[in-house]
Symmetry: C2
Subunit: 135 residues, 2 copies
């Protein structure tokens, strides 16, 4: 059996690769306004959490907890925001965003708040290295 998995072009364009975990590809949003991860279960055709099997859901929430805990520790953020929306990109993906009072969207959600501010290349490389160590 060939395992088919492909990322939606929008996710490819907006993110950089961090790691492949048991279920999810972990990527970082190239947006310097917020430390921001996205977990994409490697299951083609899934758009809702209930499209995953119960076993995959169990892995999913453990990966959400791992990413949230790691990102909070790395960034000392006040709050982690977790979201699975998919209104624009139907492929199931879970946002994990480090939030702080005074950030560009606080206390509102980050989604749909203006354009991303790409990192400088060196800063993006450094952020990904930190993530690989922290998660």
């Amino acid at each position: 059996m060939t395992v088919v998995f492909s990322l939606h072009p929008r996710l490819v364009a907006d993110t950089v690769f961090v790691a492949d975990w048991a279920l999810s590809r972990v990527v970082a949003m190239n947006d310097a306004r917020y430390p921001w991860l996205i977990l994409i279960p490697r299951r083609d055709g899934a758009t809702e959490i209930f499209d995953l099997s119960a076993e995959d859901r169990r892995t999913m929430i453990e990966e959400i907890a791992r990413a949230s805990d790691g990102l909070k520790s790395l960034t000392a953020a006040a709050k982690i925001n977790v979201g699975a929306l998919g209104n624009l990109v139907p492929q199931l993906h879970v946002h994990i965003v480090a939030r702080n009072p005074g950030d560009a969207a606080w206390p509102g959600p980050v989604w749909g708040q203006g354009s991303a501010q790409p990192y400088e290349q060196g800063a993006l490389d450094a952020f990904v290295r930190q993530l690989v160590n922290a998660l």
Copy 2:
């Protein structure tokens, strides 16, 4: 041991009771713009998903899937949005929102988008009865 569980006053003010599941209290937002549930794990002090035990997390994601699937079936929504933000209300709570193209915030998120539009009392009662049957 006395189990202590209390809802944040903001959650009390904005919602109506639907059900108590194994882990979560299920409430409905009194906002006629979107069919909208909130799951609140009955664990005082939890603010992040990683504050729950692994066992509770497993229950949490099953309850998220159950609420999402039931709400999608009931409303025939195009997409379910799931979010755990907590920037304003720190008590851990998970939003499950039925979304459709053309709704008041589409394709953006529902959080922070103007004031809730309370249901007429009869419509609210009917919605809760439908939820109790559908979930």
